[in-house]
């Protein structure tokens, strides 16, 4: 979990000015799972990704992937010699090649490959498209081909620059399950640039938070979501993400019981078997607090929790909770009014009941690692 094996990590540090923009970003990402570069438009996240790929060069750059130095004071490995897969914001397919031609462009002609055409075609549902010209594809299909093309180049790291942002919501919903799948079935580290919090919550394991060309914070997504000092909590749609294991399934009501550290949640879900993994999101404004267990409530999820800390935010109070009694419980953030905080006499260390009004299921595949 906490990639101590420094060898497979991704080290990135880029500093320099690009026109009037000053970039000074450094972070270390684990060699597994999805790392999201998240921040507002123009914060430099795409530039960082281009630097990682070698498409752009800044004055002072350090880039080390899996123990190999791609860039330092003396080295600069050109883009075509870096084993990356890059998915651009626009699919950017080669117009003069068919879908198959596009997919095979970067595939090694000989030697061993970890991903082959059949696998990619199956994973991304491309079998019907192979003979077509890119001009005859829908936006979502194009982006799927672009992802497949990047994968077939046998990358050691997949770089994705807002691959969904040019698509409409329906098309996004069509592609997201493929990304979940990808995540679940390939052990390929992904650096994913996005300014969409919902996307990041669904896909990322690690978060690199950027602002004005700098890295504000980086670490496991769930830690950053529950760090009251970071701007994530201040966002109106602030939330936490929890990964859990299905304990039981109530087919009559379409509900599952999901075990998470320190408690268990009841969630609306389709078919599920005990032992399946599920990822859910709980918005901070969907969590309220009570001193005593409310009797006869319509709210399904009322969980014992302990207040870890609290941070005033305007008229509101952001409260960090730990589920159950042990400190290892899953973190939850509740947004309550300052008045409630005072009237209930709440304080850090106190045991309370968290009432969760809404839980949304994020993915079906779940994370790649336990």
């Amino acid at each position: 979990m906490n990639g101590i094996m420094s060898d497979d990590q991704i080290h990135a540090a880029f500093r320099g000015s690009l026109g009037r923009f000053e970039l000074d970003a450094q972070f270390v990402a684990p060699g597994r799972g999805v790392t999201a570069l998240f921040g507002p438009s123009g914060c430099g996240k795409t530039t960082v990704l281009r630097c990682l790929a070698g498409l752009q060069r800044v004055e002072h750059g350090l880039c080390k992937v899996g123990g190999e130095v791609w860039q330092d004071a003396r080295t600069f490995r050109p883009a075509h010699k870096r084993p990356v897969g890059y998915v651009f914001q626009e699919a950017s397919l080669f117009a003069h090649l068919s879908v198959r031609g596009n997919l095979m462009y970067g595939a090694p002609s000989s030697g061993k490959s970890t991903v082959d055409l059949d696998e990619v075609v199956g994973l991304l549902g491309l079998s019907r498209l192979l003979a077509r010209s890119p001009a005859k594809l829908s936006g979502g299909e194009r982006q799927r081909v672009a992802i497949g093309r990047a994968l077939l180049a046998q990358p050691r790291i997949l770089l994705m620059d807002e691959p969904l942002s040019a698509l409409d919501q329906t098309t996004r919903d069509e592609i997201l399950p493929f990304l979940d799948q990808l995540h679940a079935s390939l052990s390929l580290p992904v650096i994913y640039v996005s300014h969409d919090l919902a996307e990041v919550e669904r896909l990322a394991d690690t978060l690199v938070l950027m602002e004005h060309g700098r890295v504000v914070a980086s670490g496991p997504l769930v830690d950053l979501q529950s760090d009251l000092s970071l701007p994530l909590v201040a966002a109106r749609e602030a939330s936490v993400r929890l990964d859990g294991v299905v304990a039981s399934h109530d087919a009559a009501y379409g509900l599952i019981r999901l075990d998470v550290p320190g408690g268990s949640l009841v969630v609306h879900a389709g078919a599920a078997r005990p032992g399946d993994r599920r990822r859910v999101r709980i918005g901070a404004s969907d969590v309220s607090l009570a001193r005593e267990r409310p009797q006869a409530s319509s709210i399904l999820n009322i969980l014992p929790a302990r207040i870890v800390s609290a941070q005033p935010a305007g008229r509101d109070m952001n409260v960090l909770l730990s589920l159950g009694a042990e400190p290892a419980g899953a973190r939850l953030v509740a947004r309550i009014t300052h008045r409630s905080w005072d009237e209930l006499g709440l304080d850090a260390g106190m045991d309370v009941f968290a009432q969760v009004k809404g839980i949304s299921l994020l993915s079906f595949g779940g994370p790649s690692r336990p």
Binding site: H80, S92, G106, A150
Partner: protein, 228 residues
């Protein structure tokens, strides 16, 4: 076939040879030049582009005059010719080729440059992230994507060379089988009042020009992306 004197057919053949050779040389020389003009960030590249474009504006006699000086016995062309025992490149087929290459260059370089620019940086970046060396990316991505520009450039270069007159007259003169191309032949017939021959050749040129432009328009329409 109209009954024309043999020297007309010699002129036709010479014209086609000159135009084909010129087009070939221009594709070989013009492609890297067009690529450089499309990609370079050098501040002086527009200066180079302007020099390439000069023949569009200059009277052919001006270009012809400088070429005559350069290719003549005192110029670099004469020194070059002395390598194989010649005295001058003026009034030779080789001289004509050099003149045509310079004269038709903008018509080949410009469409190819435009096509390379219209393509943008992205396809080459994509190719690089798919492990293609710059050379492989150039041949497998840039050139195929710029194909309409190449077609336009080649057709324009060929047609323009067929139609040149002023430069040929200045540096080529009127030597049958060596420098007497079609446009000069027409001029000759008019001079000597052979109106029938002149009108057949002139009419043939009109048909040729019409066919070329129509074919080019159709090709561009079919390919969809226009290079110029």
């Amino acid at each position: 076939m109209p009954n024309l004197p043999a020297d007309v057919w010699i002129a036709v053949r010479l014209t086609i040879e000159l135009a084909a050779l010129t087009t070939l040389i221009l594709l070989i020389v013009g492609t890297p030049l067009a690529w450089w003009l499309a990609r370079s960030k050098a501040w002086w590249k527009e200066g180079v582009a302007t020099i390439v474009a000069l023949p569009i504006v200059l009277p052919p006699t001006v270009l012809g005059f400088y070429l005559l000086v350069a290719l003549g016995p005192q110029g670099p062309g004469g020194q070059l010719a002395s390598l194989w025992g010649g005295r001058t490149l003026a009034f030779t087929f080789a001289g004509l080729v050099i003149g045509s290459v310079l004269y038709s260059m903008p018509f080949v370089v410009q469409p190819i440059r435009n096509a390379f620019e219209a393509m943008g940086e992205r396809p080459m970046e994509v190719a690089a992230t798919l492990r293609a060396s710059p050379m492989r990316a150039f041949w497998t991505v840039a050139v195929p994507l710029a194909r309409p520009g190449f077609l336009t450039g080649a057709v324009l270069g060929f047609a323009h060379t067929v139609g040149e007159f002023g430069v040929v007259l200045m540096i080529g003169g009127n030597i049958p089988g060596q420098t007497k191309v079609l446009s000069v032949a027409i001029f000759d017939y008019v001079e000597t009042s052979q109106w029938r021959e002149a009108s057949i050749l002139a009419g043939g040129m009109v048909v040729f020009a019409f066919t070329v432009i129509l074919a080019m328009t159709l090709i561009e329409k079919r390919v969809g992306r226009v290079g110029s």
